[in-house]
Symmetry: C2
Subunit: 292 residues, 2 copies
């Protein structure tokens, strides 16, 4: 299969979904809607929504009705980027080659744009007009899945440990904690909501969960590798910035070779699946082989 064409097709569908999920930029008060849109439509690859859709496909479901749920995952991802970039956090001026949200709209609006996007995810996930084909029980399970992955036992917890680790020597378990929580948890949840939607059986659900965990890890490992080897213009952010901040990475603990081998383990999780899991397989290869 042509993964680039698949990704382009899905990205287009997801962008159209997001366009309908968030209010027009002129909605009162406009500044918050402009700021949310500024970060939401900044060229993101929509990895989490695509993973949710591809996981549902792997488990044999048609996915049109899953789109608002997939969009909600991107709202949460975008909120986390806005808050991570804040001066009190990672203090980043650039994101995907453009000024970060707080650089463009100021800190107060950026904090509120993040709060607004996070909350909007749950507005979407509980909207009966958008989700009439999903049973209420399934919706509650999806909300639980996404909330736990985003909160103190997931993304927020990972970010806390990450900022506390800046300019400090950390051990390998701490590095793993940061990555499995800061990025891994929401990626795992993305795959799992796809599986929940498709009503995957127990074994499929466990295998997809494993895939989600390994995909999240692979994503981060490759990020670390690119930070060492990538080119600034390809990433659109400062190269070597992790090293500069004294951050430990997978390559610094395991070397480039072993790091790459670990990233490739993600494919093992899909052994029991047939052709329907090809998009998930190609997505994994895409994550492993990406250059930005």
């Amino acid at each position: 299969m042509d993964i680039k064409a698949y990704l382009a097709r899905k990205k287009d569908i997801i962008d159209k979904t997001l366009e309908k999920l968030v209010p027009p930029a002129k909605t009162f008060p406009p500044v918050i809607h402009e700021a949310m849109r500024y970060s939401l439509f900044a060229g993101g690859k929509r990895v989490r929504p695509v993973l949710a859709i591809a996981a549902a496909e792997a488990a044999g479901a048609a996915t049109a009705d899953l789109l608002p749920v997939a969009g909600a995952l991107e709202l949460i991802h975008t909120y986390s980027l806005i808050h991570d970039d804040l001066p009190a956090m990672d203090d980043d001026d650039l994101r995907r080659g453009r000024p970060t949200c707080h650089k463009t709209y100021g800190e107060a609006v950026a904090i509120l744009a993040g709060d607004g996007l996070l909350t909007m995810a749950f507005e979407v996930l509980s909207d009966p007009r958008r989700l009439k084909c999903i049973q209420a029980r399934t919706l509650v399970s999806m909300i639980r899945e996404i909330a736990v992955a985003s909160g103190v036992f997931g993304m927020v917890g990972g970010q806390v440990v990450d900022i506390q680790s800046e300019n400090r020597e950390i051990d390998f378990p701490t590095l793993e904690y940061i990555h499995t929580h800061k990025t891994g948890a929401l990626i795992r949840a993305s795959v799992r909501v796809g599986a929940l939607y498709a009503k995957a059986g127990k074994r499929q659900f466990a295998a997809l969960t494993r895939y989600g965990e390994m995909a999240g890890l692979a994503f981060q490992i490759v990020d670390d590798i690119l930070d060492v080897t990538g080119k600034q213009e390809e990433l659109g952010k400062d190269i070597g910035s992790d090293l500069e901040k004294g951050k430990k990475t997978f390559p610094s603990f395991l070397g480039l070779e072993e790091s790459r081998r670990r990233a490739e383990e993600v494919l093992d999780a899909l052994k029991g699946f047939g052709r329907k899991a090809d998009p998930l397989r190609e997505l994994a290869r895409f994550i492993i082989n990406r250059v930005n």
Copy 2:
């Protein structure tokens, strides 16, 4: 009825509920759990949870199973206070007579503690172990109610307009927008989730909604009045600080007399209710007559 005893009893039950909803302070990573608890157990009056419970009682329901939902409302209220106090927002050093969250734990942790509390509300609202007695459909309606009230069409929207209005002349509709959104929306939602839980009929639901709207307004009007007339030690925050910042208030538009009369209108909404609505009535009187 003795509203002070009623409030003390409910506050006690809600505090015990909150104690069970949030992880122990030693949970890893401890700083975030300490920070969330620091703000959550800072002596809040638990107005929103009590309103939810009293509304359910007014509609004839026993309320033990509503407690986690009531607690979730307080998690969201607490998140909003933490983010409102941040240097980029209202830049407040004191809250209820104690240093604000960011003064004690730093800005990064305060932002994340707010994010964590907001997200935890939805973790709680979708937790089947905590809420087994509430139907999934009702839960989804409650989540929707609370999310919309907290987001860009509610609390976040109100805060955006509030910070944009600082040191500016605003008109009365803008003042009303700020208050009905920044504080009013979540108070209205609190009453409505109580009514949803109790499966209130259409007319009762509409009347309770009206009560929630008027109670939110009354709460804010009295806040404004106290800012003019109150004593610093009673409020635990800087007196006249709204005036200092050039903020327009209800008394500055309507005068003290007319402001007070509007606050008292909240009681009209309960005319169709019997004795079971006495706690809501007394709560309204308590809001109107409070001195801090």
